[in-house]
């Protein structure tokens, strides 16, 4: 159900295919990407360096193509976003291996370095992004200021793009609606509560434990209460150690699932008519998780890569993500400015309270705690 899970199946194949492509691709031309501003596009840190948006568009059109990797068309509405970009700027988007994983994106960039088929931009999970920042080119989009400081690198090396809040999805026909997280300890949920993966392995499950911690009075610095919560859940016989997927939800095997709200909402939409799958974001325990957008510093189409970023962070791009059920990173600024797609925005699950985002240091601390205590708590 997580993107990584969906993507890993074809990872090996993807890598092989990319290597195959590498063998016959011509070397990238870098000389033709100079904008009217006189700066080479691959070192431009904002559209201004290329003579403003018109300069950037001209340079990108000259390159003609944008290489993207690991963007499934049905994931966060990427299919429509790619079509919108192509129509607006007349560039061709070459989407390679849509089902590859975040790690595969980095591998592809390394293997194809200097080739015209190398990916221009990345869309990565947080952990993979933070260990590969040396592969990124710093760039600030026009709307850079709208992105909350915690959700971007100060120099624009990477910027969070879209994401969601940790939520509890449940089959309303089978279990009572939970009003708060500790309701799940009640006998009505016996053997029914599943977490999307092992938190020492899967990002969604990791955030699920953080959410439980905050709901139980813990903080982003100390997630021990979250682990304790799952320990009590296990002791009550309510914790179901099954890895939930669309299939287990549909068959009724996993009636309560901790997962990202956009995935639970998508599940509900898919099962409409068959099952009433509802999504609940606990008040005061809003934990956010965002994907990361970055430009490959060795991008074969540096101007197109930058134009793609401008498009993604424009109102148009942000609303397209929103339409796919994901929360765009400029959500708050767009609500204030009234530019948000209200119909799509209102269909998102309601969340009360300030969203919590773990810093790298907090997340490292949480990982160390989980490594040492998770197996013990639920074993």
């Amino acid at each position: 159900m997580t993107r990584t899970a969906r993507r890993t199946g074809v990872a090996a194949l993807a890598t092989l295919a990319l290597i195959g492509i590498a063998a016959c691709a011509p070397p990238a031309k870098t000389s033709d990407s100079t904008g009217t501003g006189g700066v080479n596009a691959s070192s431009a840190t904002s559209a201004k360096d290329l003579g403003g948006m018109s300069g950037l568009i001209a340079a990108a059109k000259k390159e003609g193509t944008l290489n993207v990797v690991a963007l499934p068309p049905d994931w966060a509405n990427y299919g429509e976003i790619i079509k919108g970009f192509e129509a607006k700027y007349g560039l061709k988007v070459d989407s390679a291996q849509p089902d590859a994983s975040s790690a595969d994106e980095i591998t592809a960039a390394k293997n194809l370095k200097g080739q015209s088929k190398a990916p221009d931009v990345f869309d990565l999970g947080g952990a993979v992004a933070s260990t590969n920042t040396d592969m990124f080119a710093a760039y600030k989009v026009a709307t850079f200021g709208d992105v909350p400081a915690a959700l971007k690198d100060a120099n624009g090396l990477w910027v969070n793009d879209y994401g969601g809040y940790m939520s509890i999805g449940y089959d309303a026909g089978k279990v009572p609606a939970p009003a708060k997280v500790e309701d799940l300890l009640k006998p009505a949920y016996k053997g029914k509560v599943a977490l999307n993966g092992d938190p020492t392995k899967a990002g969604a499950a990791f955030s699920g434990v953080v959410m439980a911690a905050i709901s139980q009075g813990g903080t982003a610095d100390d997630i021990s209460k979250g682990v304790d919560f799952f320990k009590s859940l296990k002791a009550a016989g309510n914790f179901l150690p099954v890895d939930p997927t669309g299939a287990t939800i549909e068959s009724g095997q996993t009636p309560v699932v901790f997962d990202w709200d956009y995935l639970n909402v998508a599940q509900g939409a898919k099962l409409k008519g068959k099952m009433e799958w509802k999504t609940f974001v606990p008040a005061g325990a809003v934990v956010g998780g965002y994907y990361v957008q970055a430009i490959n510093k060795d991008a074969p189409h540096p101007a197109a890569a930058r134009l793609w970023q401008e498009y993604l962070y424009s109102d148009e791009g942000q609303n397209l993500w929103l339409k796919g059920g994901a929360r765009p990173v400029r959500e708050e600024a767009m609500v204030t400015a009234g530019t948000i797609d209200t119909a799509a925005y209102d269909s998102l699950p309601k969340a009360e309270g300030t969203p919590v985002f773990l810093t790298t240091a907090q997340s490292d601390k949480a990982k160390a705690y989980l490594t040492a205590n998770w197996a013990k708590a639920i074993g």
Binding site: A127, K190, L195, T200, K201, K367, T371, A372
Partner: protein, 294 residues
């Protein structure tokens, strides 16, 4: 050819053709056994940037890894013993059935299949039977017995133990049957004609003859369970309670990165445990063949 074939034989040199014949075997073991083992052993002593370190080995002292080693050993030992005892009883029943009879042929061929019935398919069979939506659970529900909210199937010391025992018993039959078939009826007749009781026969004749191969087969079952991965991975998704799952976690985690070489150190620990068990196995096997040969 300068030399006649007889000269080759008399000098004790093997013809080149015979050596060529084993090349595929050695190439195969080099690629799928020797090289991976070497990679594991070397990797266990390297850090993320390729410098030598003992850090990976000392990481094995972490409580969750120690308990995974303990769980793996207990799981393998218990299922090996259960498999050995029930498998041996089954073997004896089969061996005393009419040779070439339907029952005997049926049971041995069934065991041949079941001993290899592991991995995802076996886990799925148990999930389809016992899980919340399993057919047995749903069927019992009709009679008012609610097992849907129990989660024992996903515990390493309950569900996993049952599932492992399921493939251990047939494997025991396969490896133990030749030894039981080696018991000659004349020995029993001889014991009886000398006035020995059934107990005397088992205690002084059949028992000592079967013991080494029984223990050897038990050790084989131990390593069989110890190294199993797919069955456990398909069934257990939380907490990585056994060591093969811990190793899998170091390779596939998207949360905790850079643990690959700790995984290799864990694999090295497994190699060490299996080496001890296999040494025992070889010693016992040598003793068995000496016994039966004399």
């Amino acid at each position: 050819m300068a030399e006649p074939p007889s000269t080759l034989a008399s000098t004790g040199r093997k013809p080149v053709g015979a050596l060529l014949g084993v090349v595929p075997f050695f190439a195969y073991t080099a690629i799928f056994l020797a090289i991976p083992t070497l990679i594991v052993v070397v990797g266990a002593f390297l850090d993320g940037s390729g410098r030598p370190t003992l850090g990976n080995l000392s990481a094995l002292a972490q409580p969750q890894i120690v308990s995974a080693f303990v769980h793996s050993t207990v799981l393998s030992a218990v299922t090996a013993l259960l498999g050995a005892v029930f498998g041996a009883l089954l073997t004896y029943a089969v061996a005393t059935a009419r040779a070439g009879g339907l029952l005997r042929r049926l049971v041995t061929s069934l065991c041949g299949v079941l001993a290899q019935f592991g991995g995802v398919t076996l886990a799925f069979a148990f999930i389809a039977t016992f899980s919340a939506q399993g057919f047995l659970t749903v069927w019992l529900m009709k009679y008012g017995i609610d097992l849907a909210s129990t989660t024992w199937l996903y515990d390493w010391d309950k569900g996993l133990m049952l599932v492992y025992t399921y493939f251990q018993i047939p494997l025991m039959l396969i490896v133990f049957l030749p030894a039981v078939e080696g018991l000659r009826p004349q020995w029993r007749e001889a014991a009886e004609s000398l006035g020995g009781s059934t107990w005397n026969y088992w205690r002084h004749v059949a028992g000592p003859i079967l013991a080494p191969s029984f223990i050897g087969a038990t050790l084989l079952l131990f390593t069989n369970a110890f190294s199993a991965y797919a069955t456990a991975a398909a069934l257990i998704s939380q907490g990585s309670p056994i060591i093969p799952l811990q190793i899998g976690g170091t390779l596939s985690s998207e949360v905790i990165l850079g643990q690959e070489n700790v995984g290799k150190a864990m694999a090295l620990g497994m190699v060490a445990i299996v080496a001890v068990v296999m040494t025992l196995y070889v010693v016992l096997e040598r003793r068995t063949s000496k016994w039966l040969g004399s």
